[in-house]
Amino acid sequence: MDALLKMLDGKVDQAELFHLCSRTTPIEFHSGKLESIKDKQIEGVALRVIDNGRLGFATTTDVNDLSGLIAAAIAAAAFGEEVSFTFPSKRESKPPQVYDASVANVSEEALIEIGEEAIARIRTADSQAEINVSIAKSVEKVAIENTSGLKLEEERTTVFVSIEVEKVREGDIFLLNDETQVRHLKDLKPGELVDRLEEQLRLGKTIVPAPSRKLPVVFTPNGAIALLLPLIVGFNGKSVYLGTSPLKGRIGDTVLDPRLSIADDGTFFKGPRNGAFDDEGTPTSSTALVTDGVLQGFLYDLRTAALAGAKPTGNGYKGGLFGGGGFRSLPGVGMSNVIVGEGATPQARIIAGIEEGLLVEAVLGLGQGNIASGEFSNNVAVAFKIEDGKIVGRVKNTMIAGNAYNLLKDHLIALSDSARWVHGTLNTPAIAVDAVSVVGQGN
């Protein structure tokens, strides 16, 4: 790929080459049975050029047609947007440990065993449950090179396990799932997923009616995404620049309860999305978003930072806000690891203090409602009724709605004392808030 930047020499003002080689082995179990093994080897290149101040972009997987790639990017730059950023040059950073040879070397048989063991355990707990499992290991080599003299390369490993449990009874289908994603094989704890799923299966045996009124709701770490997603959208420097973030112009203001602190940290200890640099070669860092309830800053990629007159925070990721990865899309503002600070109360004690309310583990329709304004409105996918401090059963066909900014500023009950990784990017405790609108159907 060295030759490619040389081919562009003198033709454009700036150029950046993103080169991804990945090998992923997904293994799928369906209804408890091994369904398929896949070996996926992908190589792709993305080229950004800036010429006369205008940006052009092209990608290809046809590595024998690099001249076609160059021609496409230059053609786009002729009519592209005027941009004012410069591709970064080399800066020192302390890279986190993101490569584990034991992931690269683990056999398909060993991964299959993880799946078979999880399935056997859940079957023992509940012989009626249908179980789907996905396991994948991946090794990704990312190389970024640009005309500012930057030349970076990092190899990253990931192991991913997701377990889905379905329970079908007359007139009722109960679906649970949980997942984990780590960079090092020794950090993989599929047994913890199974423990949590078994607990929910047990709690969900009884179905109880849900009331329709404002109630306290305890969001487990997994369920907390319903509250946190509107905030994450609001912390995006792009939303701030576009004027769609309600946090615009409020740095220094108390925007959340003083017990809440939130940061984005691409170097966080054991963070599943750790890396030495983002998809533009900017070193990752820890960016305080909210500290003790006070808004500290926003997340930026190169382009948005230049527009907003801000500093890039190492949050230029391909594949959208949740950083889907790959090589195909232009980088934009994305999260690395989002860290919500823990509280001091065990989740069980928070529940014990609630006279009547819900415990929400998962919601349907994430992102529905006007999330830019902080509004959420979701059907609960997995939720339990709390009465006199005890979980009395599962609720179905129940909507919860509220405004995340309002609830997390004025109605926070407590944060639990144990955060965990959820949704591949988020480390959060359970969050209990009061005055959530609940609409139940009675059964």
Partner: protein
Amino acid sequence: MEGKIKQAIAKCSADYTEVRIERERRSQVLYRKDKLENLETSSELGGIVRCLKDGGWGIAVFNDITQLQEKVQEATRVAKIAARHNAEPVALAEAPVVQEEVKAHLGHDFRNVSLEEKKRLIESYNRILLSSSNRIVSTNVRYTDSFREVTFANSEGTFIVQEIPDVTLLLVAVASDGPANIQQGFETFGEAGGFEVALDREEDAANAAKRAVDLLNARSVKGGKYTVILDPGLAGVFIHEAFGHFCEADFLFKNERLAKIMTIGTQFGKADLNVVDEGYIPGLRGNTPYDDEGVAREKTYLIKNGVLESLLHSRETANKMGATPTGNARAISYEHAPIVRMTNTYIEAGHHTLSKMLAKIDRGVYAVKAYGGQTMFEQFTFSAAYGYEIVDGKLGEMLKDVVLTGNLFETLRSIDMIGDDRTLYGGSGGCGKGGQFPLPVTDGSPHIRIQNVTIGGK
């Protein structure tokens, strides 16, 4: 290439082998607010091998197509491992051997339109959105085109080359009158056609902007149970998301309890309810002349006269469930194995007019266009882009935050009137399933009226 593919398949020791090689050329123009966010032309070349050996599936995906031979061996190797752990060997239902070339029919071929011209058009729509009101704070205007040439071959002798065009246009206006009130209006288009799909959309752009501004003054709907009329757009998304996915046999075929719920012949709706998945209607995005297993398209009645008539199948699910493949095994690209997917899915027209459906509703909600939706088995939630209250048989005030939720089977039974005005929408997004997004599909419906729908709200 044809010779190399046939040779690689001939040399393979698996019981069944298929190869799919894909070339794609695509472009995108994207405006957000006053900025041209992306202007891009990209290309793709890659392949996938799928092998069945002793009843186990092995799959290999690659970009370097000179490695085809090695990848066939790799797929066979992992298929053998899968077979060792698979108590229930996979087999495929029979499918006719096909040798055919399917050419695309484009009006105004977008491959002959310069990137500059595409940019100018999208810029003009963006200007309409931005200039229509001083309360428009942002926009999202996106044009995409894609031309794929997909070659499929299998060890039974099928060899098909298909050209698949796709054009989409998304027009979104975001309006605000303060940080607490941000609303959006949108229009979407998508067809298996040429550049003409994106042309002459000025009025649609103006409508999207007007709706975003109107929503600033709309009232939030009050949570509760209502008689609801869904417009054809929202009803189409409902039938696709909430019901169509339930008919995909790969979701049921290993799960006896679910399969039992979906027993052919079960009454799901009133006698005038008919739901269809149709693999080819000229110009539609969901068109699949041959699916990614080389099986020809069908017109499949999922519900006929209120009764479950058929499911959607791949060769594997058809074999397991004793059915015939329906041509619904689709993959979004060479990176994925085919899974059971919809194509063009719709509720057939009934005989009621909208005004007749409105009459006699004392208090209801008219819900228009889908903003988003998710389903979990029989539970679903959909958010409408906007709505209107229905008072004494007439449309009243505009409503926002209309999120509908319910149980699929109860809701199907509660459809009590079906309109005479079926409309189909390709949209600018696509369908997602099993990590494969976006798959071009079309869905649609006439207006439908449903009793007792729960609407969330404060």
